[in-house]
C-alpha cells in the first residue's frame, strides 16, 4: 500500500535561497496533516510543489504512486485530483459563485451543466453559502469566499486537499466558519495537508503535525506529542512564541 502523497529528497532554490532542503514526507489516505513553522520556513512552497504550482530542482513527488508529470494535459489531469485552497481565496472574479464551482466539473470533467449545478448547489449548501449562489465573489465576505473556494475544490472530487494558510487573510470573526468546514471535512475522512497557524485546529483534528524551519522538516509527530513535548530547540522556541498568550 503506497502513501497517497509522497515527497522524497525534494530540493528547491529561489536563486541563492535554498527554500526546500531534503524534504521527505509521506501522507496516507485519510490522514490530516498540519504543517506549522515560522514564516519563510518553506511550508507554503512545499504545499505548492505538491500540485506543481512550484517546480522542484530535484527529488521526487508522487501522488497515489504516480510521479508528478511535466506541464501539459497529464499535469492538468493530476491537478484535477488535488484540491487547493489559497490564502487569498482566488475565486474567479468574472464568474458568479455558482459558476466558480461548476466551471471545472464542466470543462475538465465534462459533466453536463445541470449535473454540475446540482453538485455545486449541494456543496455550497454543505459549506453554508448556497443562498449566495448567484452573487459575484466581490459581494461576499472573506469567510464566505473561502468557503466557496473549498466547495469549488471539492467539486472535482479530489483525492487530497491542500490548504495554503486558508485563514490567514480573514478577519478574526470569520476564521471559525472556515475552520468548521475544514473540521467537518477531516471528520469525513478527506486526506488533507494544511499549512496553517491555527494551533487549535491542529490539536483538534490533525493526525500528525509537521514542523518546518529554514526549509527543513524538523519534527513530525502527533499533535499531543508536538505541543507537549517538542524535541528541537527551534520548535520549542516557535511554540513558546505563539503559545504564550
Amino acid at each position: 500500500m503506497h502513501p497517497l502523497v509522497e515527497l522524497t529528497h525534494v530540493e528547491k532554490h529561489y536563486g541563492d535561497l535554498h527554500v526546500l532542503k531534503d524534504i521527505n514526507l509521506k501522507v496516507d489516505k485519510g490522514e490530516v496533516l498540519v504543517v506549522v513553522g515560522p514564516s519563510g520556513s518553506g511550508k507554503s512552497t512545499m504545499c505548492r510543489t505538491i500540485n506543481r504550482l512550484e517546480t522542484i530542482d530535484s527529488g521526487d513527488i508522487r501522488i497515489d504512486g504516480k510521479p508528478l508529470p511535466q506541464e501539459g494535459k497529464e499535469l492538468a489531469n493530476l491537478r484535477a485530483e488535488v484540491g487547493m485552497v489559497f490564502q487569498s481565496f482566488n475565486l474567479f472574479a468574472n464568474k458568479t459563485i455558482l459558476e466558480n464551482v461548476t466551471l471545472a466539473p464542466i470543462k475538465v470533467r465534462h459533466m453536463n451543466k445541470k449535473e454540475a449545478e446540482d453538485l455545486a448547489m449541494d456543496l455550497l449548501a454543505r459549506v453554508g453559502v448556497d443562498s449566495q449562489a448567484n452573487k459575484m465573489p466581490s459581494q461576499l465576505s472573506g469567510g464566505q469566499q473561502q468557503r466557496v473556494a473549498i466547495a469549488r475544490a471539492l467539486a472535482m472530487r479530489p483525492k487530497v486537499m491542500l490548504f495554503d494558510e486558508p485563514t490567514s487573510a480573514l478577519d478574526p470573526e470569520m476564521v471559525n466558519e472556515v475552520l468548521d468546514v475544514m473540521v467537518e471535512l477531516a471528520h469525513e475522512g478527506m486526506t488533507m495537508i494544511c499549512v496553517t497557524h491555527e494551533m487549535g485546529f491542529a490539536r483538534k483534528v490533525a493526525n500528525r503535525v509537521v514542523f518546518m524551519a529554514d526549509g527543513r522538516i524538523l519534527e513530525q509527530s502527533s499533535p499531543d506529542e508536538f505541543f507537549e513535548n517538542p524535541q528541537t530547540d527551534r520548535a520549542k522556541d516557535f511554540l513558546s512564541k505563539i503559545l504564550t498568550h
Binding site: A76, F86, F92, A153, M156
Partner: protein, 226 residues
C-alpha cells in the same frame, strides 16, 4: 466664412470621405482585435517560441512608422508580391490599407491587452491551473475576459489612434478618404485654406470625443470588482 463652408460642402462630398475613414477604422479595428488577441495569447503561452514570435512581431510593428507600412502595402505587397484583393483598383487599395492598418494596430491592441492582463492577479491563473484547466481554458474562461474588461481604456485609446491613423491610407492610394480630399480641396481652393482645415479638424474632434467618453464610461462600468 460661412459662405466658404457652404461652398465647400456643396462642391465636395465631405461626409462620404469621413465615411471611408470610418469604414477603414471599423474593419481594421475588427481584424487588429482578432490578431492582437491571438498575439497576446501567444505572449502569455507556456511555449517559449510562441512568446518570442509574438514579442518580435509587436516590437517590429510598434516601432515601424505607419507610412512605411502603408507605402509597402501598395508598392511591396501589391506591386512586387502581387497581393491583390480585387481587380477594381479602389477596392483593392482599400483592403490593402485595411491590411496595413490591421497589422500595425494589432501590435498596439496586443500591448493594451497585456496591460489588461497585468490587472488580473496571478492567483486567478493559479486557481484555474490548480483545478486542472489547461492553458486555453484558463485563458478563454478566466484571464482574457478579465483582461478585456481591464483594458477598455487603453483599447479605446488604440481605437482613437486608429481612426486618426486611417488618414495615412492616403499613402496606400485610398483616394476617397479625408486627407486625400483635404489635399484636393486645398489645391483648388487655396483662398479658404483655414476653413478647409477647420472642417477636417472639427470633423475628427466630433468623431473622437464620443469614443473617449464611451470608453471612460465602459471602463468604469465593466471594471472587474475584486
Amino acid at each position: 466664412m460661412m459662405e466658404s463652408f457652404l461652398m465647400l460642402f456643396a462642391q465636395y462630398d465631405i461626409p462620404r470621405a469621413f465615411l471611408v475613414n470610418i469604414e477603414l477604422t471599423l474593419w481594421s479595428a475588427l481584424f487588429s482585435m482578432v490578431l492582437g488577441t491571438v498575439l497576446v495569447m501567444m505572449r502569455i503561452s507556456p511555449i517559449s517560441s510562441l512568446r518570442t514570435v509574438a514579442g518580435g512581431y509587436v516590437e517590429f510593428f510598434k516601432n515601424m512608422p505607419l507610412t512605411i507600412i502603408m507605402v509597402f502595402m501598395v508598392l511591396g505587397a501589391f506591386g512586387q508580391l502581387k497581393l491583390s484583393f480585387s481587380d477594381t483598383f479602389a477596392t483593392n487599395f482599400f483592403w490593402l490599407a485595411v491590411t496595413g492598418l490591421s497589422l500595425y494596430t494589432a501590435a498596439f491592441v496586443c500591448e493594451s491587452l497585456r496591460s489588461g492582463i497585468n490587472t488580473v492577479p496571478l492567483g486567478q491563473a493559479e486557481a484555474a491551473r490548480a483545478l486542472g484547466l489547461g492553458f486555453m481554458q484558463s485563458a478563454t474562461e478566466i484571464i482574457l475576459p478579465q483582461a478585456f474588461r481591464g483594458s477598455v481604456a487603453p483599447l479605446g485609446n488604440t481605437l482613437i489612434a486608429l481612426l486618426k491613423n486611417s488618414t495615412v491610407a492616403a499613402a496606400a492610394s485610398v483616394s476617397t478618404e479625408t486627407s486625400s480630399l483635404m489635399s484636393e480641396m486645398i489645391e483648388y481652393h487655396p483662398d479658404v485654406i483655414v476653413s478647409i482645415f477647420m472642417i477636417f479638424a472639427f470633423g475628427y474632434v466630433i468623431l473622437i470625443i464620443p469614443i473617449g467618453m464611451l470608453t471612460t464610461y465602459l471602463s468604469n462600468k465593466l471594471a472587474v470588482r475584486r
